[in-house]
């Protein structure tokens, strides 16, 4: 009797000791093992923010797609179903088996990423154990190639790679949250234990780009590119009052919905990454320095360009025609290089350099766009006389199209410079660069460029006054300048009486027909700006006329829809060879 009780007692003590051991001493180990079986930390996915244009039209939208992933060991257990799986996925069965076998030690292998939900459902319906779907997001760009350069694109992990998708990646992508859940063997979630991290959804972005103006610029630029067989072209339109970018188009372009099919040359945002020598389009900036110096007014002193040639320091600076004696306004109207070189030599080097610098040449424009080029402007101290002279008519300086547009927008806004911005309502502090009087005088001088006897009658817009400047620059080549390779440019502001928009068109290397800025680039400007003025509801300021001060045409409207056929004066694209 005592023996039995004693044995029972020993057994129960043993049991209690074991229970104590399990529940108290080894508690952590067993709990951890248990958690490892069914407790999982799952990410809470967030979708990327939508990018809207300034009118609320979506430009980049994330759509959900399903990615199929597999737990290799589980799938290999049912190896007889692999051929069926491979067929639905559209891959080779043996290859799939090899791939799974190679990664048999892992728990997670992507089989096919970013499938359309319907196709992915077909795979999941097979019910093969170890195959699961994961929600992912994919970016679609409804505008396609029209806004490709500005928006950029994302990679397969939904991170921005180029353009504004990259610049605002943090803002757009948000942060996925995490929660701890209890899962059963099938992988279904049984219970939410706790939220480890709250998800921060991606935020939307409203751009300053106007989709309609962007499309207009794209289609006009495309037809000009085709007509003149040029290599590439860019157009930038800025809002004068705020410095916001209304449109930025480059050609050649690509379809961001199919990035893999594109070439790197198509993906460059040339308006911001490529530099060019501005040629005559820089003359208004030179004139800003001249007027600010006090040595020049729009009508005096007279500059003698008789002969059309100026041999300076062993270099022949010449115009296309002999323009005789010109006022400073005349230098702009006729686009005289000789006149510009004379003016440049008359100015203080430090004033000229500071003015060029203040207008943004040689600096980044702080637009926030990745990969933006700063251009090149040599330090004023190091300018040699010939360099100074040729910088007066736009050689020896490198600028981007955006910098040029920003400089013209500064003149247009009464001498106030805003940093160009791609975000709507981005309040950049303005800076006064030149006095409003000088700016007003410059605009009046530039209005003559669309008048009779000047280089850009093709830039005229009916019922509006247009101020601008053409530029036809030789392109630099190995050891000098190319004989027959030009950049045709036109930079202008409308309406001249109270500028609202600035547009810069640059066409690179037009091969067929003409190569002058006034013939190749100015008509693009006119057509696009005409549409843009109408879209933005800007009232006309030059009713019944084709150019400021021109004759009144017909009662209440213009006679004919084509501007009077003034033959444009040839812009002077001379050898501005670097010394």
């Amino acid at each position: 009797m005592v023996l039995v009780v004693g044995l029972l007692g020993l057994a129960s003590i043993g049991l209690m000791a074991r229970a104590f051991d399990l529940q108290v001493v080894r508690k952590q180990f067993y709990q951890r093992q248990g958690d490892a079986r069914f407790l999982r930390e799952m990410p809470i996915p967030v979708s990327r923010g939508t990018i809207f244009d300034r009118n609320g039209e979506p430009l980049a939208v994330s759509t959900p797609v399903l990615s199929i992933w597999a737990n290799p060991s589980e799938v290999l257990e049912n190896a007889d179903r692999i051929p069926q799986l491979a067929k639905v996925l559209g891959v080779d069965a043996d290859e799939l088996k090899d791939r799974l076998a190679q990664r048999a030690d892992r728990e997670f292998v992507y089989l096919r990423r970013q499938m359309v939900p319907e196709a992915a459902q077909a795979v999941l319906k097979l019910g093969i154990p170890g195959i699961n779907g994961q929600r992912e997001f994919r970016r679609y760009y409804p505008s396609g190639e029209v806004t490709a350069h500005v928006l950029g694109f994302t990679n397969i992990d939904d991170h921005g790679q180029e353009g504004l998708e990259l610049a605002y990646d943090d803002w757009l992508s948000g942060k996925p949250g995490a929660k701890r859940v209890i899962r059963d063997r099938m992988g279904h979630v049984v219970e939410d234990v706790e939220q480890v991290r709250a998800p921060k959804p991606g935020r939307n972005l409203t751009l300053s780009i106007d989709r309609r103006i962007q499309f207009l610029a794209y289609s006009e630029l495309k037809s000009a590119l085709k007509k003149y067989q040029a290599d590439s072209a860019s157009m930038v339109i800025l809002d004068v009052k705020t410095g916001e970018v209304l449109a930025m188009v480059n050609l050649p372009t690509y379809n961001p919905n199919a990035v893999n099919a594109s070439k790197p040359a198509q993906r460059r945002n040339r308006a911001m990454t490529d530099v060019l020598e501005p040629g005559s389009t820089i003359k208004p900036v030179l004139m800003a320095a001249a007027l600010s110096s006090g040595k020049f007014t729009p009508t005096s002193p007279l500059i003698d360009t008789t002969g059309g040639h100026w041999y300076f320091q062993g270099h022949d600076i010449h115009d296309t025609h002999d323009y005789g004696v010109l006022t400073p306004t005349g230098v702009i109207t006729k686009s005289s290089n000789v006149g510009a070189a004379h003016i440049a030599m008359d100015l203080d080097t430090s004033l000229m350099y500071d003015t060029y610098r203040a207008f943004g040449f040689g600096n980044s424009t702080n637009s926030g766009f990745p990969g933006e080029a700063s251009g090149y402007l040599k330090i004023g101290r190091d300018w040699r006389p010939l360099e100074k002279a040729i910088m007066g008519y736009g050689y020896g300086v490198n600028v981007t199209v955006l910098q040029l547009a920003n400089a013209y927008a500064t003149i247009a806004d009464g001498g106030v410079m805003h940093d160009p911005s791609f975000i709507k309502g981005d309040d950049n502090p303005p800076k006064q660069i030149i006095s409003p009087d000088v700016a007003r005088q410059l605009i009046q001088m530039m209005e003559t460029v669309t008048g009779p006897g000047s280089t850009a009658p093709e830039a005229r817009i009916a019922n509006y006054s247009v101020a601008g400047k053409t530029g036809t620059a030789h392109k630099a080549d190995a050891g000098g300048y190319a004989k027959s390779s030009y950049t045709a440019a036109f930079a202008g502001m409308v309406p001249a009486s109270n500028p609202r928009m600035v547009g810069v068109v640059v066409v690179d290397n037009p091969q067929k027909g003409s190569y002058y800025g006034g013939v190749v680039a100015a008509p693009v400007f006119a057509k696009v700006m005409e549409g843009a003025l109408r879209l933005l509801d800007v009232p006309p300021d030059n009713i019944g006329r084709w150019y400021v001060g021109g004759p009144l045409q017909g009662a209440g409207g213009l006679v004919g829809s084509q501007p009077p056929a003034d033959a444009p004066l040839d812009d002077a694209p001379i050898d501005g060879g670097t010394p």
């Binding site: 039209e57 430009l59 759509t63 029209v146 009916a462 019922n463 549409g531 009713i543």
Partner: protein, 90 residues
Amino acid sequence: MKALGALCLLLLLAAVLASAIGVVWTRNESRVLFVQLTALQNRRDALNIEYGKLELEQATYAEPRRIDDEARQKLGMLDPRPQDIRLLRR
């Protein structure tokens, strides 16, 4: 005295049983509510997804190129010429 003790014991036993059943009931409630929560979350996700799809569809239909083509080809619209424009009031 003994009856009181027995009564207390019974009461305690009943309390234990009640609390046990309470645990079961609460756990079951929690599961049911969790299933409801998941269903609602899925529905919310599905609605968000559909919103995204509709946004994309709207953007595609409002594509300027498409509108331009439809206006010019189907409706035969043109840009008004300058002589067709009258300014009514400045």
